[in-house]
């Protein structure tokens, strides 16, 4: 009972972007507590945007100052090149998504009020609003930042939950189609909790195997511990379940269409971009760093998962009649394309190529998908957003600019040259080919072709079908939405025409690979 425990060193400067976001979230809660109702959103919006921008600036500053070569906070968090790149991506995408949230009344005024009840009427009359959306979103973004940087499995688990829990709530807050929204929240929550239990059990088994949850130590143990391979394999598989669930890889994809459809569209946009980026970052770190020595074992498994994911995503997208479900399946298929890059490991140079390809793809896809969902928010009829595809018929004749932009996003999803999507696929597939995964790339190309068929079908529907007489109207976008669509379209064009700067950036971020 004597002697002091040495205080751990924590590199606050390195963690600053995350701390800023979490700090702003906590301040946001205080605003909710103490600010009068009419002032809340006026405070929240600048607070949220400023904190995201500030965190981004800090991340950039960190990257300029030099990328650290050792994990921070006693090995718990690794702020390395890829992590900084992913942080930047998530922060920008979150910033854009917030602009979308700000814009329209996507969120219910009083979540506790029964749909159609007098209580709800009352909340509408009072123009009540759940401004908690902003702090919740900041907490989720904070979790997204921590997840891909987590260098031990406990931190990863906590980050996973910090990221997911606010999202479960946000899913259930749609103003329109409350039943669908609540259903989405319940489904996402139950399945998310279920899958994170798998992740935790995997963590427990790996802890049993290696005696530590630190990724570097687990990797060291791979060579030295013998005779407990069953623990290791099952543990790795369980970890995989938790991570693949968040990505939406088959056979863990079932939640994605339902949740994407039911959630408020801005939240869907955030999930489809930010969460996917964060989850891929974490998957890469866990499997490349923690289980890097085991790649001969996990690669065939991921091989199968990638094929299944691409096929399921592309084929099921074809018969969708709901625009948001269609985009959800498209997101599943893109998850599959990205998994192709995860498998393309090998020499250090090969890893760098694969990683930089993945990073580029994530940025490109993130922007395009946020833009696509932003367009979805603008096409409305009496019941809210018009989700059914038949309602989109002839949109090109009524609002050619909007339909043209959406068509452009779809072409980017399909990977047509001169859009950002092309270079994403190109970079990832090229890395996969040089990594010896040619069959996988062939499946990928075929799946892209199948998916392209559906995207083109939507374009044809928009431009060459006659509009319905009582078709949906396109609301005049507010500045926020217009900015989102504009930014997304610009990013899609610029990355399609001038991909080199970002490819270079991704390459230099990937150069050092993940620290150990």
């Amino acid at each position: 009972m004597n002697g002091t425990i040495e205080a751990p060193t924590i590199e606050y400067a390195l963690l600053a972007p995350m701390l800023v976001v979490f700090g702003a979230a906590i301040v946001g809660v205080l605003v909710e507590a103490f600010a009068p109702r009419y002032l809340r959103s006026a405070i929240h919006l600048p607070l949220t945007l400023l904190s995201l921008a500030g965190a981004f600036a800090l991340a950039v500053w960190q990257a300029l100052k030099g990328v650290p070569t050792k994990p921070a906070a006693m090995g718990a968090v690794a702020v390395d090149g890829p992590a900084l790149f992913i942080w930047g991506t998530i922060l920008v995408l979150a910033f854009v998504s917030v602009l979308l949230i700000k814009d329209e009344e996507h969120f219910v005024g009083s979540a506790a009020a029964l749909p159609g009840s007098a209580e709800e009427e009352q909340s509408l009359v009072e123009r009540a609003a759940h401004t908690e959306v902003y702090p919740l979103l900041l907490f989720a973004v904070g979790g997204m930042l921590l997840f891909p940087a987590a260098n031990d499995l406990l931190v990863a688990f906590v980050a996973l939950e910090v990221m997911s829990l606010p999202l479960y709530l946000l899913c259930g807050l749609a103003r329109r189609r409350r039943l669908l929204s609540q259903e989405a929240a319940v489904k996402y929550f139950l399945l998310g909790a279920f899958s994170s239990a798998f992740f935790l059990y995997g963590t427990a088994l790996l802890y049993g195997y290696a005696g530590s949850v630190d990724l570097a130590k687990i990797n060291l143990a791979l060579g030295s511990v013998g005779g407990q391979d069953t623990l290791l394999y099952i543990g790795a598989a369980m970890l995989g379940v938790g991570l693949l669930f968040k990505i939406g890889a088959a056979p863990f994809q079932a939640w994605k269409p339902d949740v994407y459809q039911g959630s408020p569209t801005p939240i869907t946009a955030l999930m489809a971009s930010g969460t996917l980026v964060a989850a891929f970052g974490a998957l890469l770190r866990v499997f490349w760093v923690g289980l890097g020595g085991l790649d001969w074992d996990w690669r065939p498994v991921f091989y199968g998962v990638a094929i299944l994911t691409m096929v399921v995503g592309a084929i099921l997208a074809i018969t969708q009649t709901d625009i948001k479900r269609m985009l959800a399946y498209s997101s599943i298929a893109h998850g599959g394309f990205l998994l192709v890059g995860v498998i393309a490991t090998g020499s250090a140079a090969q890893n760098t190529a694969a990683l930089s390809g993945l990073l580029f793809y994530l940025v490109a896809y993130g922007f395009t998908t946020v833009g696509a969902f932003a367009v979805v928010t603008m096409v409305r009829d009496a019941g809210g957003e018009a989700w059914h595809l038949s309602r989109w018929a002839g949109l090109g004749k009524r609002s050619p600019l909007l339909a043209g932009t959406f068509a452009f996003f779809l072409l980017a999803f399909a990977g047509i040259p001169l859009t950002s999507g092309f270079f994403g696929k190109y970079a990832v597939f090229q890395a996969a080919v040089s990594g010896g995964a040619l069959p996988l790339v062939i499946v990928g190309v075929v799946a892209s072709a199948v998916a392209a068929f559906f995207y083109v079908r939507v374009i044809v529907l928009m431009f060459f079908s006659d509009p319905a007489a009582d078709g949906p109207s396109v609301v005049l976008p507010s500045r926020g939405t217009a900015a989102v669509v504009g930014i997304a379209a610009l990013a899609t064009v610029v990355l399609g025409v001038f991909p080199q700067p970002l490819l270079d950036l991704a390459h230099s971020a990937a150069q050092s690979l993940f620290v150990r």
Partner: protein
């Protein structure tokens, strides 16, 4: 062993007093009957008829219950800290203050949003 003798004596005394008090009461006290004495004890409130199987309780208790769970379990971290706080030094203190402040923020939110109001 010597160390525990006083405790043992105290325990015996306490137990003896309890047994003695309860045992002597029926013989010494007055015996006047009324309905209220036979009813179940509910803090002085008149008992309400309950459906079979316990029935359902109003949702308003749920929020209280949830708040209890959260704040109760957060405090788990105070125990390890309390045990080793002198060895953790200033760093431990600062971290714990940060932790408590964060919990207090949540508490403030609940309080301001009337989560603590009974009705």
């Amino acid at each position: 062993m010597e160390l525990y003798v006083p405790i043992l004596v105290l325990a015996v005394l306490a137990a003896g007093f309890a047994v003695f008090s309860v045992g002597i009461a029926p013989f010494t006290g007055p015996k006047r009957w009324n309905r209220a004495k036979l009813d179940a004890y509910e803090c002085g409130i008149e008992p309400t008829p309950q459906p079979v199987g316990g029935g359902r309780f109003p949702l308003k208790y749920m929020i209280t219950a949830m708040l209890f769970i959260v704040f109760d379990i957060e405090i788990i971290f105070l125990y390890p800290w309390a045990v080793a706080f002198d060895r953790l030094g200033v760093f431990g203190l600062v971290e714990m203050v940060l932790f408590i402040v964060t919990v207090l923020v949540a508490y403030a939110y609940v309080w301001r949003r009337r989560g603590l109001d009974w009705d």
